[in-house]
């Protein structure tokens, strides 16, 4: 078959010409691929991200890794779901003591899919708490908190506490009887703590009594402060996971084949 005269026209200019020896029958796809590659090249030239992405995605996970190892990413996914549904709830929510309840009632009863999204956020918190406990149990039973992963365990406990704090601050926001009284009691309990206790509850309530600004304060903590810290902590947690590698299940042993022992020296 004679070569189409256009093939040479689709070739990129300069030094890349010889690397794109694609079949002449698919010039269209070739062009698309080329665009993709050059976009990534352009980004990589300026950010050097591809090495990091390769390091993250193509790192090896040890032999014997099983379904228990998905609990961490499942927790993170539940957090992402909370973040997305939370953004939609924030579009309708009004954090003022006089209008909060009405805005939640409007959201639940009038807004298209409002109750569904609020339900996802409400039950998503339960799912996230269960997953975080299961993930912690897996880490404990597999002994994965031991050397060299001690720091990642500590970060994980911080994430657990932050998640429970999210639940505590979020519980007030619908501003119905249940949430108001549970929070009043919860903050009062904080106040009985030694040293910082009274200051912490004064800070949470924005004063000695539950007042008009308390709700706004809980809202800011719930949707700005805590999610920000959680996202940063998840980043650190993931970095350490990739850096140190996930553990193998404790009953898996590397066979002591002599040539491999030689290799690893």
């Amino acid at each position: 078959m004679a070569k189409l005269p256009t093939t040479s026209g689709t070739r990129p200019r300069g030094t890349r010409a010889e690397t794109t020896e694609a079949p002449a029958t698919a010039p269209q796809r070739n062009k698309l691929q080329e665009t993709g590659v050059s976009t990534i090249d352009w980004l990589d030239e300026r950010t050097s991200l591809s090495a990091g992405a390769r390091w993250m995605m193509f790192r090896k996970i040890p032999k014997g890794t099983n379904w228990f190892y998905t609990l961490g990413s499942a927790t993170m996914f539940a957090f992402l779901s909370q973040a997305v549904t939370g953004v939609f709830l924030a579009m309708y929510y009004d954090p003022s003591a006089t209008r909060a309840y009405e805005s939640v009632r409007f959201l639940t009863n009038e807004v298209f899919l409002g109750e569904f999204v609020r339900g996802m956020h409400k039950w998503g918190s339960t799912v996230m708490v269960i997953l975080i406990f299961l993930h912690m149990a897996r880490t404990f039973f597999f002994g994965a908190y031991k050397y060299p992963r001690e720091l990642n365990w500590v970060i994980g406990v911080v994430l657990l506490i932050l998640t429970l704090a999210m639940s505590f601050t979020g519980y007030l926001l619908p501003f119905d009887q249940r949430s108001y009284w549970a929070t009043t009691v919860g903050v009062a309990i904080n106040g009985t703590g030694p040293l910082v206790g009274p200051y912490l509850s004064d800070f949470l309530r924005a004063g000695p009594e539950f007042g008009a600004t308390t709700l706004a304060r809980f809202y800011a903590i719930h949707m700005l402060l805590l999610p920000g810290i959680i996202a940063a902590m998840i980043g650190a947690h993931l970095y350490l996971v990739a850096r140190l590698g996930t553990t193998a299940p404790p009953w898996i042993r590397a066979e002591s084949s002599p040539e491999l022992r030689e290799d690893s020296k």
């Binding site: 995605m57 193509f58 790192r59 090896k60 996970i61 040890p62 379904w67 190892y69 998905t70 990413s73 996914f77 539940a78 779901s81 309840y101 009632r105 639940t108 109750e115 569904f116 339900g119 409400k122 039950w123 998503g124 918190s125 339960t126 799912v127 708490v129 149990a137 404990f140 039973f141 597999f142 002994g143 994965a144 031991k146 050397y147 060299p148 992963r149 001690e150 406990v157 429970l164 639940s167 119905d176 009887q177 249940r178 949430s179 108001y180 009284w181 549970a182 009043t184 919860g186 309990i189 904080n190 009985t192 703590g193 030694p194 206790g197 539950f210 404790p250 590397a254 491999l260 290799d263």
Partner: protein, 244 residues
């Protein structure tokens, strides 16, 4: 874990890792399936359980019994069963703080190189005890009766008095339940055993007038209930006098 054990672990781990598969696509595929399961679970829970909105907040009520989210029930139960006021801060702050500190420092006090669960008896026993304790406390917390409630059927003498007497008995029961009597007195199955006396059979011990007098002019540390409206006080006295 000494230096030798650390190096042995790292050597073993690098061997296991070298024989493993790449994270992408093998682990990513599993994680992806898990994400789908999580998403479907959340959606199904939202669709079946909904997002109920309770009555509007009313800071003036004194009878509303707050309940936390279910995963705080264990803490709620610890607070409920520890009664003496001097121990309450310990229960509320001390116990959870201690648990959190122990959890934080776990890798620093458990430093043995052993990872297999069956060879870590102390760690496993501690874990199962913790899980059992939390499950038990959560269950108890979930089934805890309201502190402002008296589960008591009208006695036969009241039942015989007809509908009017039963209504008076119920009204008085409600006043007692809402006035905080149960914080110091036991009435039937409800309330605390101290510091006040058991009122389950107070009607047999004290005449009606004596009960009324005690309410207005009680022995310390009981506060006087002079501010109670007359109708409520009559109901309350009537109710207590019936307990024989």
């Amino acid at each position: 874990m000494n230096q030798l054990e650390k190096e042995a672990y790292l050597r073993e781990y690098s061997l296991l890792k070298s024989k493993g598969k790449p994270f992408f696509p093998y682990a990513v595929a599993k994680d992806g399936w898990m994400a789908v399961i999580v998403m479907v679970t959340i959606i199904l829970m939202s669709l079946t359980l909904g997002a109920e909105l309770g009555p509007k907040v009313d800071p003036t009520t004194t009878t509303y019994v707050p309940r936390p989210e279910w995963y705080f029930f264990f803490l709620f139960e610890v607070l409920r069963i520890i009664k003496p006021p001097s121990l309450v801060p310990l229960a509320a702050i001390g116990v959870p703080s201690l648990c959190m500190i122990l959890l934080f420092l776990l890798p620093f006090y458990d430093r043995s190189p052993e990872r297999r669960p069956e060879r870590r008896p102390i760690a496993m026993a501690a874990a199962f005890l913790t899980i059992a304790a939390m499950a038990f406390l959560t269950y108890e917390g979930a089934n805890a009766g309201s502190p402002n409630q008296i589960d008591m059927e009208p006695p036969p003498s009241v039942m015989a008095g007809g509908e009017e007497a039963i209504r008076a008995f119920e009204a008085g029961k409600q006043v007692v339940a809402q006035s905080g009597c149960l914080a110091c007195h036991k009435i039937g199955e409800n309330g605390n055993t101290g510091p006040g006396p058991d009122l389950s059979e107070i009607g047999g011990r004290l005449p009606r007038q004596a009960i009324a007098r005690t309410l207005v002019n009680p022995t310390a540390p009981m506060p006087p209930y002079v501010d109670l409206p007359d109708e409520k006080r009559d109901n309350l006295v009537e109710f207590l006098a019936q307990l024989k």
